[in-house]
Assembly symmetry: C2
Homo-oligomer: 142 residues x 2
């Protein structure tokens, strides 16, 4: 437990978002201007191994990891394709689904991730439905 790790943890806990390593660094560096981005990455990966943080790879234009402080209860995400806002939610129904799956396929599930992509209330009003276009060309696909 070093000063830097403590700071990074504190910054992470202060946020209620899913920051990228860069975002987290930008916040923590305000307290310790010499804090390096590699240290943030190293700490995040360490926390991940300890099971205290999980890495999320939401589909985004930038192909950047986002880090999610792992709460006791598993939670899931809705992501607005337009404004990238995130809604977190629980999914109690998932427990049964997982169990069924485990029995059916004889596997052990350790974690689950559910992500919904769509448009949030605000963006839904602005964005009209999108027209698909070149599907014709490809109609020979099975």
């Amino acid at each position: 437990m070093t000063t830097q790790r403590r700071l990074i943890l504190a910054s992470l806990d202060a946020l209620d978002t899913h920051p990228t390593a860069e975002e987290l660094h930008a916040i923590a560096v305000q307290q310790d201007p010499s804090l390096n981005l590699s240290t943030v990455y190293r700490t995040l990966r360490w926390l991940e191994q300890e099971g205290l943080v999980s890495t999320r790879r939401f589909d985004e234009p930038r192909r950047q990891d986002r880090f999610d402080p792992m709460l006791p209860s598993q939670h899931h995400h809705f992501i607005c394709k337009s404004c990238k806002n995130v809604i977190e939610f629980d999914l109690p129904a998932l427990g049964d689904i997982q169990q069924d799956f485990e029995h059916l396929h004889q596997v052990r599930i350790e974690s689950a991730s559910v992500v919904f992509y769509g448009l949030c209330t605000a963006c839904n009003r602005q964005n009209g439905p999108v027209e698909s276009e070149a599907e014709r060309e490809l109609s020979q696909r099975t």
Copy 2:
């Protein structure tokens, strides 16, 4: 519709896995040795825009995209953390869950991704349960 795109599509359809761009290129290049990896990427991104392929970012050591030919019915994935094998499955129950969520939060869901991580039957036998370790240090976290 060029020769290259047709070839890439054919190679993708021939596979029943979720190849990386590299893997797909390796296969397609057997038919056309001059086929370039950038063309594979460009074609894949084009298909993605057309809604015919979706990009999956499973958590893996290598931070590589995997490409999934989009079938009419949405399907989901179980990934073995040890051998990385994938089991695909449908989840009819998800429809209702999505609808409930849409009403509750007044949003529009366009797509959903469910991923289970765990151990497959074979790997489950070999790997013992893992011991967590430094949680003590961090017990002051909320």
